[in-house]
């Protein structure tokens, strides 16, 4: 059954490639929702399509065999064809194209005797060649897939073998459902498995999903509940449970099932128990799992999508013109058919007519079809193939552009859609996400407000400035032309910090610093192949927060013994508990995984997944020597219940963790061993605690900027430095790093407890009771912990201000406290607004103390919700919301998300290129506006229009009002910017106000949509795209941008911090926003002009050539005769004139990249489709007609009334046609390199060689157009050269004349720019400035005076312009 479904799926994919393309296409087999209504019964009723998994070597062998028959093995086959099926299937696929079918029809038509035009075989050549080229390409791709499959299938993993009763090495392809697989750290998971056992004492295991989605942060997986408690190893033979789960589906975030023990005990399985194929095991020594889905049924494979096919604007244009060609063809054929009929009917059986008794009408009808064969070249079959090849070439050049590879990610640009390169040159609207697209998505803690007191963190702000300045300094030499531009070179910054660190750290520990790519390190070497970064969200900028002195001072009072007292009194007037709780919340309320870099190194080379294991074994050997004291140092007097938790394996883990932490700097352990020898093993002595305190005090005394000062860090400092935080989102990491700057360091995290340092208190162990994870609905997350100081059950919640503020309560009984809390709340709100205005992302932090009995009650409900299988999500949601009420506000944080480098310049350039830039963001209005200001989307002189309204009527009025304002203010104000919020947008989209909205937006230079949902983003894109009929581009980096990216004509993903979803759904992926500038202005422009020119050239070429044949019909009684040798006729397009246009389409360069970047206005040529207008098409056709007339009639008159034979006449005509067509390309080319020269000369040379060889060797072949002797005679005849020369010159005369006169009298911008490229650098610079100045002046005169900013700019440019003309005169 399953395999059948799979086959169906494959077939569907194969036949309708579009259906499987969308990344978010609905699951092929949507997960069954269990619809049993009995909500309180956790019973799992198998219904519908479910899968039962039984251990392969377990007790139920027979059942296993019967059940597992239908399940797929783990062998994967991504190839489309087998050797046998290749030819039929490939042909079948190829004939899905209309063009190919048309030519097949022509070939078949030629087999009908009455209409036969050429020899049957000859007509097949073009089709066979085209099909052959494509089939070859397909075969090559398929072979690559085959080889990849083979590598993957033959990976080795450890699988339990029933005979040998142990885990043996097996290939991935031999793994079956029900197998037990043992994996070690850094190994890749071969199939979807349910985690049964982990070496981790808590039964967790970490996996990295980089192979799946590019996210390098670790995700935690949990052993199936109940199994972990058994404590013993899972023995496959005795594994008598059955697993029931959903049928394979593609939902990566969902897995539902139950594990049923023989004693009918059922344990729910969820996503947390599932290990996904192609993820990597991290931070966990060994795990054992049972395979539930294998091969193509795994979620990773189900999510596989092929390349995307979109049709570009140019291609749509092209298709209409192909239709025009068809019309032209029909007209020509009809003319010939009618002519033939008339001609025949006027004859009285002359000698040259073969009597066949066909009436003239019927003969005319037959001739119609003959002519369709003869003139087939008019429909450019080779055009489609050529376009594909040209686009491949263009993509090759885009991907090879070094400028896209600047910066530390070095991921360059990925072209995922192969056939819309030219759309990049026609973009009219750009829709951009904000976070991660315009900004770094590098959250840096900036400031905070605690208990209503704002801590401005001025030093920290200065530090951030420093980072920016450093960036700028790096760039000045990069881009001499524009002193303000910045090419960010992170590596230099990084190397700086590395160097300073080098002073006091051993070189070995260096590589543990986040992704220091500069380091020629052994362990990082294999990384070059794969990992874009090593650790999520932890650059120095994010880590090195400088604390606010005031706050630090307050926190320094913490170690006073009265602290627990303060808590116990519950006196809310005291600030200290707020501060402590605030920092505790910052450190605790997250899902950050603490790890150390040693084991994190992603080992992506599949062949050797085991290497790191050895180091693990080594560590175990080392353990007796020095491990114990190190571990002891970890425990703290405050830690309750620590001792009992130290099981040996846990201990090993901790040891490992420490080892990783100290990064095998062996000097340290030695010291520790010395210390450890005289301290008891399990009970930490007071002396040690004192030592710890001392160390931390010493550290406190140190200058904070240890990195920059190169200060000497103590051993503890060292170790602290090497902690690494793996966060799901950058905000979380920022907060943890910030807390750490205040010595509230999150040390370790397990599923049951957290270890936290507090200044002056040392290590505290905080029992973790619950984590209520973040979701976008609630916009908050919470943790439930037992407070380390008061041992109360405490809830810490953090989230968006809108989500938290409503949940804050003020106690009603205590007036004073209520006042105070209200005061705090007001103050905090004030600060929040202030932060938002500064463009900071705000988060609120709140807390709540739970009474034990309340907690117990909630726990009961919650655990019920957790274990239920029906409606689990809903129940969990309800119980979570129940907990997150009546919170006490602690404070708020402001996190700055810095603009990416060169964003303002890029936006400015895009706007100058005539592209409307819209920003669609989920942020608050104030934040959005402030970011828009800083990225120059919003200029100081612009007038801001805000549209916020509550209902439709108000909205209607408001829009009309705004429109009026715009119309009134037009001319007086340099530009308008519309800011609209999500709610208003919703009203606009729903209430039928789209038209007035678009009209208003059309008057504005920029539009900012804030607080918008992903759906709204895509709706806006759709609205603009469909209603205005413009080419849109959407750029984003996160999952929330996916729908927008897919909706736009061109979707661009930024491979940033938020995983790969946006990238996977995009057409192009870039690493920085600034690359958009070159991608559009340079590559887009080139791709469009090249392709448009090439297409026009193809039309020209075909029309010019085919009309030669048509003119001849007037002299052969419209009989469908050709004066050209059939071979030459067929090969003319296929061989003699095919390579030059390809080269033209790939390499032609009208204006240099520099000029295009500096004069964005040149982009408008592409936007307005200037290269390929309908009129251009018809001019081209006219020119082609003229050229063919010249090319036919000059030889005609030259040889009129002579003894020239049919095919002798064809030779000069063909030769001149070839010369004309090649030289025409020279005229049209903007650049001619040696390659052009080689190809053009090669084509001509090939033609002559062919003619000569053919005419001297072909004796009886190729009847009736036997060429024997013709070529040789012509080549030795001076008249032939005279004819060719005259024809060529006469044919090309009008085009040369037109080009040169129009270029002289009113040169288009592109020609002017091309002329600038030829000037020497100084002159060029001056003329570019002059151009810009005149552009500004034009703008000025349009708007009739603008802000002072513009006037200044004009002044400066004007002065430079005067200088330039002055020098030109002299």
């Amino acid at each position: 059954m399953e395999s059948l479904r799979w086959v169906q799926h494959r077939c569907r994919r194969l036949l309708f490639p579009e259906s499987g393309l969308s990344w978010y296409s609905p699951a092929d087999s949507p997960p069954q929702k269990n619809r049993t209504t009995s909500g309180d019964s956790p019973a799992y009723k198998p219904a519908g399509k479910r899968r039962m998994v039984i251990a392969r070597h377990g007790p139920y062998q027979d059942e296993y065999c019967s059940i597992s028959k239908g399940y797929q093995g783990n062998r994967i086959r991504t190839t489309k064809y087998t050797i046998l099926s290749f030819i039929p299937m490939n042909l079948f696929e190829q004939f899905h194209r209309i063009a190919n079918l048309y030519f097949l029809f022509l070939v078949l038509l030629n087999w009908v005797p009455v209409v036969e035009a050429f020899q049957k075989e000859i007509t097949m050549i073009p089709l066979v060649v085209v099909l052959g080229i494509i089939a070859f390409k397909d075969a090559l791709e398929d072979f690559r897939r085959y080889r990849f499959d083979k590598v993957i299938n033959n990976n080795i993993t450890k699988v339990y073998c029933g005979k040998q009763r142990r885990y043996v090495d097996k290939c991935w392809k031999d793994v079956c459902v029900g197998d037990f697989v043992q994996l070690a750290c850094n190994e890749i998971i071969p199939a979807d498995m349910v985690l049964l056992q982990s070496s981790d004492p808590d039964g967790v295991c970490h996996i990295e999903t980089a192979n799946l989605d590019g996210e390098t942060n670790l995700k935690q997986r949990q052993v199936v509940r109940g199994l972990a408690k058994q404590g013993s190893d899972v023995i496959p033979e005795n594994f008598d449970s059955r697993i029931e789960c959903e049928s394979p589906n593609n939902d990566l975030n969902r897995f539902r099932g139950v594990l049923e023990n023989p004693n009918k005990l059922r344990v729910g399985l969820c996503n947390d128990n599932l290990l996904l194929r192609s993820c990597t095991v991290r931070n966990t020594e060994t795990i054992i799992g049972i395979v539930v889905y294998a091969g193509h049924e795994t979620k990773a494979m189900k999510n596989n999508s092929g390349p995307r096919y979109k049709r570009s604007k140019l291609e749509r244009r092209l298709n209409t013109d192909v239709l025009w060609s068809v019309v032209l063809l029909l007209v020509m054929c009809l003319t010939a058919a009618i002519g033939h009929g008339l001609w025949l009917s006027s004859l009285k059986n002359p000698a040259f007519i073969i009597p066949d008794g066909i009436s003239p009408v019927l003969a005319g009808f037959y001739l119609f079809w003959t002519m369709i064969i003869v003139l087939q070249v008019l429909i450019p079959i080779s055009l489609y193939v050529s376009i594909e090849i040209v686009k491949l070439g263009q993509i090759y050049f885009i991907q090879n552009d070094v400028d896209f590879h600047s910066g530390r990610l070095a991921s360059g640009v990925q072209c995922r859609a192969l056939n819309i390169t030219e759309d990049l040159g026609q973009i009219q609207y750009v829709f951009s996400d904000k976070t991660g697209t315009l900004t770094e998505n590098k959250m840096v803690f900036c400031r905070c407000s605690i208990a209503g007191v704002d801590y401005p963190h001025e030093d920290n702000a200065r530090r951030l400035e420093l980072y920016r300045d450093q960036d700028c300094d790096d760039d000045d030499d990069d881009d001499a032309g524009r002193p303000t531009t910045k090419v960010k070179s992170r590596s230099s910054l990084r190397s700086l910090s590395c160097r300073s660190l080098n002073c006091n750290h051993s070189s070995v520990s260096l590589h543990t610093l986040t992704g220091c790519e500069m380091e020629p390190d052994l362990q990082t070497e294999p990384l070059d192949g794969g990992a874009p970064r090593q650790t999520a969200f932890s650059s120095h900028m994010e880590k090195d927060v400088i604390p606010d002195p005031q706050l630090l001072h307050k926190l320094a009072q913490l170690p006073s013994p009265s602290l627990p007292l303060l808590y116990s009194t519950g006196d809310s007037s005291q600030e200290i508990p707020y501060i402590v709780d605030f920092f505790l919340a910052m450190a605790l309320c997250n899902t950050v995984v603490v790890s150390s870099p040693g084991l994190l190194l992603p080992n992506l080379t599949l062949e050797v997944p085991r290497n790191p294991i050895r180091s693990l074994e080594d560590l175990k050997l080392l353990f007796p020597r020095f491990g114990v004291p190190r571990f002891a140092a970890l425990s703290s007097p405050g830690g309750n219940g620590l001792q009992e938790a130290e099981s040996p394996s846990n201990f090993t883990q901790r040891l490992l963790f420490r080892m990783k932490g100290s990064a095998s700097s062996f000097a340290l352990p030695k010291v520790d061993v010395g210390e450890g020898e005289d301290s008891p093993v399990r009970a930490p002595s007071p002396a040690q605690v004192e030592l710890g305190a001392l160390v931390s005090e010493a550290a406190e005394a140190e200058p904070w900027l240890e990195v920059e000062s190169g200060g000497d860090g103590g051993p503890d400092q060292d170790e602290a430095e090497e902690l690494m935080y793996e966060a799901e989102s950058p905000d979380e990491a920022a907060l943890v790093h910030a807390a750490r700057a205040y010595r509230c360091t999150l040390r370790a995290r397990t599923s049951e407890k957290l270890v936290v340092d507090l200044p002056g208190l040392g290590h505290l162990t905080v029992p973790l009771l619950h984590v209520l994870p973040f979701d976008s609905l609630r916009k908050r997350m919470s943790v439930v912990v037992r407070h380390p100081l008061t041992s109360q059950v405490v809830v810490y919640t953090k989230g968006a201000d809108s989500a938290i503020m409503d949940l804050i309560t003020t106690p009603k009984d205590d007036r004073q406290a209520a006042d105070r809390l209200r005061h705090i709340r007001e103050r905090t709100q004030l600060h929040l607004d202030d932060y938002a205005r500064q463009g900071l992302r705000t988060l609120c932090i709140a807390t709540k103390v739970l009474e034990e009995e309340d907690y117990a009650m909630w726990l009961k409900r919650h655990s019920y919700a957790e274990t239920s299988i029906e409606n689990r999500e809903e129940l969990l949601q309800a119980s979570t919301s129940e907990l997150e009420t009546d919170l006490t506000l602690l404070g708020a944080t402001g996190i700055v998300d810095q603009l990416q480098e060169q964003v303002p310049e890029t936006i400015e350039a895009l706007q100058a290129a005539g592209i409307r830039v819209w920003v669609l963001t989920g942020d608050k209005q104030e934040t959005a506006i402030s970011i828009a200001c800083s990225c120059k989307l919003l200029r100081a002189t612009d007038k801001l229009l805000t549209a916020n309204c509550a209902n439709k009527e108000a909205c209607e009025v408001l829009l009309a009002d705004l429109l009026k304002t715009v119309e009134d203010g037009r001319g007086a104000i340099s530009g308008f910017t519309l800011v609209i919020d999500g709610w208003t947008l919703e009203l606009v989209l729903r209430g039928g106000l789209e038209d007035s909205f678009l009209k208003l937006a059309g008057c504005c230079r920029a539009v900012i949509c804030c607080r918008s949902t992903p759906l709204q983003k895509s709706q806006v894109v759709q609205l603009v795209r469909d209603k205005l009929g413009v080419v849109t581009l959407a750029v984003g980096d996160g999952a929330n941008d996916v729908s927008m990216i897919q909706m736009a004509d061109v979707g661009i993903g930024i491979s940033g911090q938020e995983g790969m979803q946006a990238v996977m759904s995009s057409d192009f992926a870039i690493s920085r926003f600034k690359h958009l500038r070159k991608l559009l202005l340079v590559h887009g422009h080139w791709c469009y002009t090249r392709l448009a020119n090439m297409i026009l050239y193809f039309f020209y070429k075909n029309v010019a050539y085919v009309n030669l044949l048509f003119w001849y019909q007037f002299f052969c009684g419209f009989s469908g005769s050709t004066m050209t040798n059939y071979w030459v006729l067929i090969l003319f397009n296929l061989l003699f004139t095919s390579a030059p246009p390809l080269l033209y389409g790939i390499l032609d360069k009208d204006v240099s990249a520099d000029t295009l970047l500096q004069l964005p206005v040149l982009y408008q040529a592409g936007q307005d489709s200037l290269t390929y207008l309908p009129s251009t098409f018809w001019y081209t056709i006219l020119d082609a007609l003229y050229q063919s007339l010249a090319c036919f009639f000059v030889p005609y008159f030259a040889y009129a009334d002579s003894d020239i034979s049919v095919f002798s006449l064809g030779t000069p005509i063909n030769t001149s046609a070839l010369l004309i067509i090649l030289l025409h390309q020279v005229i049209e080319s903007r650049t001619l390199t040696w390659m052009h020269g080689a190809v053009l000369l090669g084509s001509a040379f090939l033609y002559f060689v062919f003619i000569l060889v053919f005419s001297s060797t072909c004796v009886t072949c190729n009847s009736p157009s036997n060429p024997l002797g013709i070529g040789v005679r012509h080549v030795s005849d001076p008249l032939f050269y005279c004819v060719c020369l005259l024809t060529t010159v006469l044919a090309l005369l009008p085009r040369i004349l037109y080009r040169s006169i129009s270029n002289s009298i009113c040169p288009p911008d592109l020609v002017k720019a091309a002329q600038m490229d030829r000037l020497n650098p100084d002159e060029r610079k001056r003329s570019i400035q002059l151009w810009r100045a005149s552009q500004l002046a034009a703008l000025e005169s349009q708007s009739g005076g603008g802000g002072p900013l513009l006037i200044n700019a004009e002044d400066e440019a004007y002065r430079q312009g005067v200088g330039a003309t002055g020098s030109a005169v002299s």
């Binding site: 991504t78 690559r144 897939r145 993957i152 192979n211 799946l212 989605d213 996210e215 990566l252 192609s278 979620k299 092929g306 390349p307 000698a351 040259f352 991907q399 360059g412 192969l418 794969g530 973040f774 997350m781 995983g1059 996977m1064 002299f1115 052969c1116 009684g1117 009989s1119 469908g1120 008159f1197 040889y1199 009334d1201 002579s1202 003894d1203 020239i1204 034979s1205 006449l1209 903007r1230 004796v1259 009886t1260 009847s1263 009736p1264 024997l1268 005679r1273 001076p1278 008249l1279 005279c1282 005259l1286 010159v1289 004349l1297 270029n1303 002289s1304 002017k1312 091309a1314 600038m1316 030829r1318 001056r1326 002059l1330 005149s1334 003309t1365 030109a1368």
Partner: protein
């Protein structure tokens, strides 16, 4: 804060479709080479066509074309050509009677002779052509109606001609040799030329019937089956003559070197003409000595054995006498065309010069768009 949903990227690190072309997986981390080719900075010639750059070319073309044109025109004018229409469509024409009668089937030969006068002597070798008008030798099906391998002497094709020859493939169940419509419609008028002395004596002018076909045709493409020495009538035994012919192919000439398929009149006919009005080389009148012209000024008679019917398709038959130069026959078109194009180019050059002076300076210095 982002919900960290994730979805699959590429199956186990490789990608099915796109990777083939783009190598999205591979290209990821590789920094491309900074070569001129890959960065599209190959040194290039960038022709920008403006009045300034193009006008020298126009002058050069003008300067080259006008002399060529004059040369061609003079050459063409030096060629002597005489043409006479002997169709006999006119009542006044001596061949009127013959023209009414003949059909392909008539066996009775009709003779007529036309007198003409050459005003100028023809000095060098004179080529004698017959010209046909409105005869579509280039009709698609006519052109195809032949069997090249039969004509090349292939014996199996002799017995079993190609299907392209239908309906002139067999006659009375015997294969036709040579088959096909082209051969069937072979031009079969006989033209003879007599010089009338001022004193009234008729001297027949010797006409060379060999050397009128292309060398490659005569020696490579056309061959009699079974070599040259055999008795041709034996070779062609069992074949039928084309229906319109009066005698079989082996009786075209008495000279064995000019008989059968290698008969040059036949070969010339078989090279189908490109245009409906054409001429074909019939005979060559060779120059006898340097002293006397090949054809002196004076009166001549053209004796025609009138067989070929053309009036059914409003055709015309002509006899052409022409001398020949390096550029072939007389044709003033090419010379005039060269002169015209050359002059036009020169004129355009002047126009461009004016344009260049008016607009060129503005463009060559830094641009001021407006």
């Amino acid at each position: 804060m982002m919900a960290s949903g994730y979805s699959a990227k590429e199956e186990d690190g490789h990608h099915p479709g796109a990777s083939g072309a783009t190598g999205s997986g591979v290209a990821k981390s590789k920094k491309p080479d900074n070569t001129a080719f890959k960065q599209q900075r190959l040194p290039a010639w960038q022709p920008i066509l403006t009045a300034g750059t193009v006008l020298p070319a126009f002058f050069v073309i003008g300067l080259i074309f006008i002399p060529i044109g004059i040369g061609l025109y003079v050459t063409s004018n030096n060629i002597k050509e005489f043409e006479i229409d002997y169709t006999g469509a006119d009542m006044s024409s001596p061949c009127f009677n013959c023209s009414q009668g003949p059909s392909w089937n008539s066996t009775w030969p009709c003779h007529c002779s036309i007198a003409f006068t050459l005003d100028q002597p023809f000095e060098s070798n004179v080529f004698m052509y017959y010209g046909l008008s409105n005869f579509y030798q280039n009709h698609r099906r006519y052109v195809k109606s032949r069997d090249d391998s039969q004509l090349n002497g292939d014996k199996s094709s002799l017995r079993n001609p190609s299907k392209e020859c239908e309906p002139y493939r067999t006659s009375d169940n015997k294969p036709i040799a040579p088959c096909g419509a082209i051969a069937n419609s072979l031009f079969n008028d006989t033209l003879e030329l007599f010089y009338i002395d001022p004193n009234g004596t008729r001297t027949q002018i010797p006409l060379m019937k060999k050397g009128i076909a292309w060398w490659t045709d005569k020696h490579v493409k056309f061959r009699n089956p079974g070599g040259t020495n055999l008795n041709l009538s034996m070779v062609f035994q069992g074949t039928a003559k084309p229906v319109n012919w009066h005698e079989p192919v082996y009786e075209l000439d008495t000279d064995p070197e000019n008989n059968g398929f290698i008969n040059e009149d036949f070969i010339v006919w078989m090279r189908t003409a490109a245009l409906p009005t054409f001429r074909k080389l019939y005979r060559i009148i060779q120059k006898k000595s340097n002293m006397t012209p090949t054809l002196p000024r004076g009166n001549y008679t053209l004796d025609v054995t009138y067989n070929y019917p053309v009036l059914s398709f409003e055709g015309r038959k002509r006899m052409i006498l022409s001398t020949i130069s390096w550029m072939g026959g007389k044709n003033p078109f090419l010379g005039l065309a060269y002169i015209t194009v050359g002059s036009v180019c020169f004129f355009l050059g002047v126009v461009l010069l004016i344009i260049h002076h008016k607009y060129g300076n503005r463009n060559n210095s830094a641009d001021i768009p407006n």
